[in-house]
């Protein structure tokens, strides 16, 4: 049994420095690595390239890094919830690379799985395909996309064990499993860290081999972006 536990978020982020490329799990504010983001703010690393489906909101999630102007380049599929983001993008301080959501997911998965490139139909005939190889298979047109290369991946799981095995809950899964093992170092924070053997080996979403460091997260806010209710 290989133990991946680290005992603080500080230890978990050891080695992070300015100029690095980071992957961050989550969809909107759902399933984001809250503890890692707080620590990134505290560290103050700058000129970061962040790969994440969204860019948080003004005062939460990646918005916290944007407030501090720590992000140089944002790679995302949708960034519409953030006024600070808008301002920095319009002023040219922030470079934004918009990527179709499925392509973003597959580029992470490709990095995890040692696939350097693949073909997808998404974006063919649009500006997303500009400068990329286009090719036809069986009469349909595709764009070649390459795997991401990143230094750190920060993910958040529901439960994890000390060997790094992870289990997610609901739609908080999203990009998190795909980013594990897709960067040089994968850091997982979990709501509940359990001993090896407590999780059913049939029900592991991410095997521990894809996680380098795991820690018990704290003080999860789990903010809801659009609380939408049904009338009784």
């Amino acid at each position: 049994m290989i133990n991946k536990t680290v005992h603080s978020v500080k230890e978990a982020l050891e080695g992070v420095s300015s100029g690095m490329t980071l992957m961050l799990g989550g969809f909107g504010l759902c399933g984001i690595p809250e503890n890692a983001i707080s620590e990134l703010v505290r560290l103050g690393s700058s000129d970061l390239t962040c790969i994440s489906n969204n860019a948080g909101v003004d005062d939460f999630g990646l918005g916290l890094l944007l407030q501090q102007k720590q992000i140089k380049t944002m790679i995302a599929s949708y960034v519409g919830e953030n006024a600070e983001f808008e301002q920095q993008m319009l002023s040219g301080e922030l470079e934004v690379i918009l990527t179709p959501q499925g392509t973003l997911a597959e580029k992470c998965r490709a990095a995890q799985a040692g696939i350097p490139a693949f073909f997808t139909p998404a974006g063919f005939g649009t500006e997303v395909a500009t400068g990329k190889e286009n090719r036809s298979f069986h009469g349909k047109n595709y764009v070649m996309e390459e795997a991401y290369q990143a230094d750190f991946a920060f993910v958040k799981a529901w439960k994890g064990d000390v060997t790094g095995n992870l289990i997610f809950k609901g739609t908080a899964r999203n990009f998190n499993p795909l980013m594990c093992g897709a960067a040089k170092v994968t850091v997982a924070e979990v709501e509940e860290l359990v001993p090896a053997g407590e999780l059913d080996p049939n029900q592991i979403h991410v095997p521990g081999i894809l996680v380098n460091r795991i820690f018990q997260g704290q003080d999860y806010e789990k903010r809801i972006e659009q609380r939408t209710l049904r009338n009784i």
Partner: protein, 218 residues
């Protein structure tokens, strides 16, 4: 009379067939879920990772870990499953989702669609729209026939940056149901009380008008 958004959603709901897996975009498409015809079973997929999406939760039941692609709190139905984003878009690219319903800013008479970017305005991103339109065999667009200035959004060529090429199959607007054919927009149905002339004037792209154009039935 031109349809309102609810009526557009109602008309689109008639396109749902028993056993369909359906992905609904934000806006009018979301409303379609309220009008599933009686007696058929469909399942809604949300691309952030759920199949078998249910209605919004009652107060106190909302769960931060359970949202739809519009970031709204939702519920799950019996038989639901959660999965990661690669599996979710695998379903979409692999044509396992039977029907995609989404909004558009412009559609061309070749079936091109533009719905993600207006040059000079803030770009929010394409989200999953490019994957959805490039993959689905069956794409229905819910949109307004003309913009606020009265200009047609059904064009011979899109003026905005494209989301996808030659992918739209059917369009439902406040005025009409139109299919994309090799002849351009084919007028299939008109909204109750709307004349063919009105539709003609509101359509900038090539419009094919059959001898008989029935009114929509709800």
């Amino acid at each position: 009379m031109a349809l309102d958004k609810k009526d557009i959603a109602k008309r689109i709901a008639k396109e749902l067939k028993d056993g369909f897996y359906v992905n609904l975009g934000i806006g009018i498409p979301t409303l379609v879920a309220n009008y599933v015809p009686k007696g058929i079973q469909v399942e809604f997929q949300s691309e952030n990772g759920i199949l078998g999406m249910g209605p919004f939760p009652y107060e106190g039941e909302e769960d931060a870990d359970l949202i739809n692609a519009g970031k709204q709190t939702i519920t799950s139905l019996p038989g639901a499953s959660f999965f990661d984003s690669a599996m979710s878009f695998g379903m979409i690219r692999g044509k396992h989702v039977d029907l995609t319903i989404l909004g558009a800013m412009e559609v061309s008479d070749k079936g091109d669609i533009a719905n993600w970017k207006i040059p000079g305005k803030l770009v929010k991103g394409m989200g999953g729209a490019m994957d959805l339109v490039a993959s689905a065999d069956n794409i229905i667009v819910a949109m307004m026939h003309v913009n606020r200035k009265g200009n047609s959004k059904l064009l011979s060529k899109c003026t905005l940056p494209l989301t996808g090429l030659r992918c739209v199959k059917r369009i439902v607007t406040e005025l009409a149901v139109l299919d994309i054919t090799s002849q351009g927009f084919l007028l299939v149905e008109r909204a109750p009380g709307v004349s063919i002339q009105e539709i003609k004037e509101a359509t900038a792209g090539k419009l094919e008008i059959p001898a008989v154009v029935p009114e929509m039935q709800f």
